[in-house]
Chain length 214, copies 4
Amino acid sequence: MPEAESTETSAPRRRQARGERRVAQLLEAAAGVFCRSGYAAASTNAIAREAGVSPGTLYQFFPNKEAIAIELGGQLLHKAAETHGQAFLPENLALPLPELLDAVLDPVIAFNCENPAFCALMHGSGIPGHINDEHEALHTGIQERVEQVLGHLTPGLSTAERAVTAHVVLAVFKSSLDLILASEGAEREAYIAEVKTLLRRYLEPLVAPLPTTP
Amino acid sequence: MPEAESTETSAPRRRQARGERRVAQLLEAAAGVFCRSGYAAASTNAIAREAGVSPGTLYQFFPNKEAIAIELGGQLLHKAAETHGQAFLPENLALPLPELLDAVLDPVIAFNCENPAFCALMHGSGIPGHINDEHEALHTGIQERVEQVLGHLTPGLSTAERAVTAHVVLAVFKSSLDLILASEGAEREAYIAEVKTLLRRYLEPLVAPLPTTP
Amino acid sequence: MPEAESTETSAPRRRQARGERRVAQLLEAAAGVFCRSGYAAASTNAIAREAGVSPGTLYQFFPNKEAIAIELGGQLLHKAAETHGQAFLPENLALPLPELLDAVLDPVIAFNCENPAFCALMHGSGIPGHINDEHEALHTGIQERVEQVLGHLTPGLSTAERAVTAHVVLAVFKSSLDLILASEGAEREAYIAEVKTLLRRYLEPLVAPLPTTP
Amino acid sequence: MPEAESTETSAPRRRQARGERRVAQLLEAAAGVFCRSGYAAASTNAIAREAGVSPGTLYQFFPNKEAIAIELGGQLLHKAAETHGQAFLPENLALPLPELLDAVLDPVIAFNCENPAFCALMHGSGIPGHINDEHEALHTGIQERVEQVLGHLTPGLSTAERAVTAHVVLAVFKSSLDLILASEGAEREAYIAEVKTLLRRYLEPLVAPLPTTP
DNA sequence: GATGAATGAGGATTCATTCAT
DNA sequence: TATGAATGAATCCTCATTCAT
């Protein structure tokens, strides 16, 4: 008789647990749908269906479609943070550039390969211009992290220069990530190697007085 | 009998002229809407409204939304071809890399700044997977052009390597273009300079035995 | 110099001639489209296109879609009348029933096979109830003709009985005609024979004291 | 725990009940609209309006217009089957023809008078050629039933002859049904009697060595 | 919470018809 | 006359969101 033993704390706790399961369920479904259709073309009904719940249930946990994307982004970010150290920031920023790139990019790429929804979300609504505040926030967060790393790497740059470089690095990396995610096997490896080469050559002159570029 | 002749020919001519004006009007409106909303989110009704005509009128000139995008892409390509020599291919591919990049990128960037719709169209439907045949064709065409130039630049690469490089160059350039188009004035200039730097550093080792990178 | 010699009578005449050609052109096109799509699904634009003229031209000769059907029906009726004597009424109504049926039905069937649009028109707009006045008129005209023949055949019937019989005969014949038109070759011949048998057996008891049915 | 149980089962049950009511409502509305306008001219919006719901609601229960027709046809067929024995096939096929016709036709006619939508559906889309698969299926089903009965009646006919006869019988009956449905009272009775007479006279020579036709 | 029915504006597209030329 | 552009309401259908149960 579980009802009897349910104290004032355990019943809500169970409910809350169930709620979290639901949220997880919905987010997983959303991840799938976003990947398959992109954010804009994903319909909330499709997400609910994929999650095996009714549309109403979805709206019990998320006020609207955007909120799903935001939460999903957040969760993925969090997952990334706990899987890979402090959100992809390697402990040792003093590594030589090629090793640093490996240290930073390998986990990020691996994470995106395992969670392709993350990339789908990064591309935003497909509607240019002001996507949306929270979406923007995700972006900005990543952006800042890139700037942080760049700050360590290239102390000689002005803030403005660093911002430009960070934007370029991020944009370039994102588009390369699409290439990586769209391919498989050896081709994917080739793209991965190529992005690293690209970024290494781009950043090397900024970071070291004695470039070792081949 | 000039009267009969002139009326018989000038009336259709005027009508045709009006039709062409409408098409131009509609394409301009479409360009605007595509820029603002992206291809997928652009509605034919919105395009018609922007053009100041009824939905029916739009469909007198275009069989469907895709046809608008295709025609717009075609017109822009054509416009590009006649504005800038032979579709952005500079006469002299033997230029030193920095000059070559200027020669290739400056017109392309200028063109995209003047015709931001082109970029919007390049981004496709936003729906992953099979976008659409003609859309794809546009892409492939550009792709081939990039490979051509790369062929001249880097005769040492295998076909597969060249394809990878071309994809990366194109992806990188497209994403940088977004940055450029999203900014203005000095910021824009900074991005432009940065893309060139990026590509120069990336390609230099491939092209020249004696790199001049600072 | 045809303009000079065009007197006040010949110019209008030419215009009128041209008009009649246009009408014929349009009606022929309409016949084709009605056959292929049925009356309801036929679009005036499609008719104009088939006729090789613009929608506007069509509306210069016909006030609306219905008018086309009416005129087409009329023309076909007229054509029938002049091809086959006095609109399918045989000279000799005193023939024995089987011969009479041949004499009446063979031309009608032949005519409908050559002009399948007629049948398409008879089926009306597909919208039950009061189709439309003129459409109705066509129907009524045929109806009356059937009653005429029946009047000769079966003088014993009351007016009401005759009306019922005429309606049944007509309905039955129309539906059989569909079967005939939908088939070809031997199958068509079989249907033709069958309709005659059907009508013969139906009418024989009404017409003759001594049935000769096998 | 009856409370929990009752709420957990009765709420869905009530919802489901509402859904079924809606479906019934929509089908009834569809029946009305199909009758008034025919299948082709019936609009889903009109059906929804007639049912007093929004277009979206209609599409919650039916994926498209055709599905409505199919479901309505199915329901009517089912209703027919349970109202009248085994889909209008009388127990005793060995009855004398006049009684057999009464036994077969009376229920069919009664059913169609009570459910005129059935007849509207039978007339198909109005567009010649390939109507639609399920529509076709309905037709074929009826066709087969007619052939079955004919098989009992007229064992002397070849398969091909039987098919022709069945087609003719069905076509003739359908068109007569239109007449019946379009009339009322005594007129309707007259038409009913007349169809029976027609079919009796048509089939008698096929079925019996000693015709009793008056 | 969970359900799924309900909404209604909006999507692309068609079409009979009108109008300026 | 002939043209074809122009109209706009109507078509089927979708979707984010809400509501009663």
